[in-house]
């Protein structure tokens, strides 16, 4: 910050604080993370420069066309920001366009200079930060990255041990939730560090495709472990061990594979090499079971085979990456399959909210005389809106304290300390000290809001320049501007869409059940009859909704008003979302199998599917305000059995009845139906504990 200010002031550039902003907002823990963010900030700024000049050139004489174009582009950026790739690029693109446009709007002749100055100062700030990060305090992500690979494998080994305990009927040493949370944390930490290590660690840079393959396989292993654990809940105790006599051999083999992978990640020779595991079924044990139970076992074995394959692949990948095996061929980069362009409702809502905030700020400045902050309010409303619109359950009140303290502190420095200084040599220690103190005190990620507010308000209020002036009014104007922004933010929680956690929770639940029902109802029973493009598009949209909504609902559940939940079971809503997640996974498995199963196999299960669809419809209605909250599960939903045709098919099979290709087809499909039915029952049981009446009531807060 000190160097960036020094260069900008020495060059006598306008608004030297733009360079300071660039430094303040790209600083992250490691060089790789910071450089990645810096690249996104520069490219986002360049895009914003081009777009803002285009908007100004098209609408220099028409303020309404100007705000229409600006809000359309901002909405596009907000929508893209919610995606998985390069979110920060779109965030910077959106708010920098607003800054340049609003800054140059009243005087379009200076637009080009403003855009160039913004780009120049941002690039200079980032260059200064990068050089300091590389040469003064280099902090590579190398060690943290390799440590994260070991943590990840160990967390997967823990989950596997837990599954084995469940499968063998032993008392589990820890709870599933804790293990799952640790596994998710380890995977997300690895994902972040991989991105950073690809930039600052040459060893990872060279083997980028290999590490991406490791990431894909490890994510798939997490999912397979979760599916196996979920399937164990549906199987009576000890049935799995009786049906598959080699189960213990399988568990020992997988555990030693995971231990060997962890060894290799710690640069030690693997203690063993992978061995083949067949998992044959015990025919006598299977014969005594119903088709329904055999289907459950067939599904569990599919998951175990998937774990077997994935751990073997992981072993090979890690052995190659860490130099314990010869590389036979180049690892090809994994390409994500092309998907339909599917609109995301939540991202559209977010885009609409920011556009409304931008319009409200613009209209307020035009129609209310001497509005505090002038058109600067539009810029800050856009930046704040973009930063906060995707935070679930965000409360405006959480900004009060950081903003009040930051304004008071910056005001104190600006009015009482800065006037005593007479040269940059005296100012530099002040900038260094303040920046250091803010970054040191608000280092933890959960204090990020305080750090961002502290740094940005210090830079904004002090407005350091070569022609320094001091005015008490500028501080009160900033304070008044933030009051107006709080009103704007608070209004955006209710208009145009209600973002109260209870309303969002119910809205998302309705969407989930509606999409789940559509998936069960619309897919043709005959895979030969190819659906048309619009049907495929619609199906893909609903499948994506079912796959993504449980995570979104879980994020909002934490913000539900405790008054609306059972007082003796505050975690009830969390348990409800866990069962929703299970339902989502089971529905995905079912629709995957149904896409390839022949019509003769599917027709027999149609009634069962219709029964489940009716239950989903009841759950959807329970989340509506006007309908009675009936979350009961019809007993017919879970008593599905194969019909006459399927039974005849199964009767004709001999040998390992789970292995014959025809029987396997039937049992897999039957097992998938059973999985959905069990998940529906689990959801129904959890939902009956919730006080839906209270949850659905309209409330002020």
């Amino acid at each position: 910050m000190t160097l960036a200010y020094a260069i900008a002031l020495a060059m006598d550039w306008d608004r030297p604080y733009w360079a300071a902003f660039a430094v303040a907002f790209v600083s992250l823990t490691t060089v790789g993370q910071s450089v990645n963010k810096a690249v996104l900030r520069i490219t986002g700024t360049v895009m914003a420069m081009a777009v803002s000049l285009l908007i100004i050139s098209l609408s220099a004489q028409d303020r309404w066309l100007f705000i229409v174009l600006l809000s359309l582009f901002t909405s596009l950026c907000v929508y893209m920001l919610g995606g998985q790739r390069a979110g920060y690029f779109w965030q910077v693109g959106g708010f920098v366009t607003a800054i340049i446009c609003i800054d140059s709007g009243p005087d379009p002749t200076s637009a080009f200079d403003t855009a160039i100055m913004r780009g120049l100062e941002t690039s200079m700030g980032i260059l200064v930060y990068t050089l300091v990060a590389l040469f003064l305090w280099p902090n590579s992500s190398r060690d943290a990255f390799f440590a994260s690979t070991v943590t990840l494998i160990k967390s997967q080994a823990d989950v596997f041990t837990h599954c084995v305990q469940l499968a063998l009927g032993q008392p589990p040493t820890t709870t599933s939730d804790k293990l799952e949370a640790a596994e998710l944390q380890a995977q997300s930490s690895f994902d972040q560090l991989l991105q950073s290590a690809e930039t600052d660690t040459s060893q990872v840079m060279k083997e980028q495709a290999g590490w991406r393959q490791f990431q894909t396989q490890s994510t798939a292993l997490n999912a397979a472990l979760q599916h196996w654990r979920d399937s164990l809940g549906d199987i009576p105790r000890l049935q799995l061990a009786q049906a598959f006599p080699d189960l213990e051999k399988f568990t020992v083999e997988i555990s030693s594979r995971l231990a060997a992978i962890a060894d290799m990640q710690s640069q030690q020779s693997p203690r063993s090499q992978p061995d083949a595991v067949a998992l044959p079924a015990d025919l006598k044990a299977l014969e005594s079971l119903s088709h329904y139970d055999r289907a459950g076992l067939a599904v569990a074995r599919t998951h175990m085979r998937s774990i077997d394959k994935l751990t073997r692949d992981l072993f090979t990948t890690v052995a190659r990456l860490r130099g314990f095996a010869e590389r036979t061929d180049e690892i090809e980069a994994i390409r994500t399959p092309r998907q339909f362009a599917l609109p995301d409702r939540d991202r559209l809502i977010a885009a609409g909210r920011v556009a409304v905030m931008q319009w409200a700020a613009f209209l307020a400045v035009i129609y209310i005389g001497d509005f505090p902050g002038g058109f600067g309010v539009v810029t800050i409303a856009t930046s704040l809106g973009m930063a906060l619109v995707y935070v679930p359950g965000f409360k405006v009140s959480s900004l009060f304290a950081p903003v009040a303290y930051s304004i008071s502190f910056a005001g104190f420095v600006y009015l009482l300390v800065m006037p005593q200084l007479s040269s940059y040599l005296q100012l530099a220690p002040l900038i260094f000290g303040v920046t250091f103190a803010i970054c040191y005190l608000f280092y933890e990620p959960q204090k990020m809001l305080g750090r961002a507010m502290g740094l940005s308000l210090f830079v904004m209020i002090c407005a350091i320049s070569n022609d320094q002036s001091y005015s008490f009014i500028s501080i009160t104007t900033t304070a008044m501007m933030f009051v107006a922004l709080f009103v704007l933010l608070a209004s955006s929680i209710h208009f145009p869409f209600s973002m109260r956690p209870e309303d969002v929770f119910l809205r998302m639940l309705r969407r989930f059940f509606h999409s789940a029902q559509t998936i069960l109802d619309t897919v043709a029973d005959d895979p030969e009859r190819q659906p048309k493009a619009p049907q495929r598009w619609l199906y893909a949209f609903h499948a994506r909704e079912v796959a993504t909504l449980p995570q979104k609902i879980a994020a909002w559940t934490a913000h539900l008003n405790p008054l609306n939940l059972p007082p003796d079971k505050p975690q009830q809503a969390q348990m409800l979302t866990t069962s929703l997640n299970l339902l989502s996974v089971r529905l995905a498995q079912l629709s995957e199998l149904r896409a390839s199963a022949p019509e003769s196999v599917q027709v027999d299960l149609r009634d069962w599917r219709m029964q489940m669809s009716a239950t989903l419809n009841r759950f959807e209605k329970a989340a509506q305000r006007t309908k009675p909250a009936d979350n009961s599960t019809d007993p017919a939903t879970i008593t599905g059995e194969p019909g006459r045709q399927l039974k005849a098919k199964l009767a004709g099979t001999q040998g390992d009845i789970l292995n014959s290709s025809e029987a396997q087809e039937v049992y897999q499909l039957l097992g998938a139906h059973r999985g959905v039915a069990e998940a529906l029952t689990a959801y129904g049981e959890q939902a009956q504990q919730i006080n839906w009446q209270a949850l659905r009531e309209p409330r002020f807060a």
């Binding site: 209710h494 208009f495 209600s498 009531e697 309209p698 409330r699 002020f700 807060a701």
Partner: protein, 70 residues
């Protein structure tokens, strides 16, 4: 008889009476909506955010007319 409009001075900084009335109006409206929430009376309103806004306007007008004198 309604009070005569007058400015508020805090350490020499003059504040318009309407601002004070609006701040008091918002505070009283928030207290009212909290109380209605706690007593579960909010369920009788169709769209609470609009009711909340109406409370703010009504209280601001009442306070500015009968208390502050804006």
């Amino acid at each position: 008889m309604t009070p005569i409009p007058h400015e508020f001075a805090i350490s020499g900084v003059y504040l318009p009476p309407m601002l004070i009335a609006a701040l008091l109006g918002i505070a009283v409206a928030l207290a009212t909506t909290r109380w209605l929430d706690r007593k579960r009376l909010s369920r009788h309103f169709f769209y609470p955010p609009l009711v909340s806004l109406s409370f703010m306007i009504i209280y601001t007008v009442l306070i500015s007319t009968f208390v502050v004198g804006a």
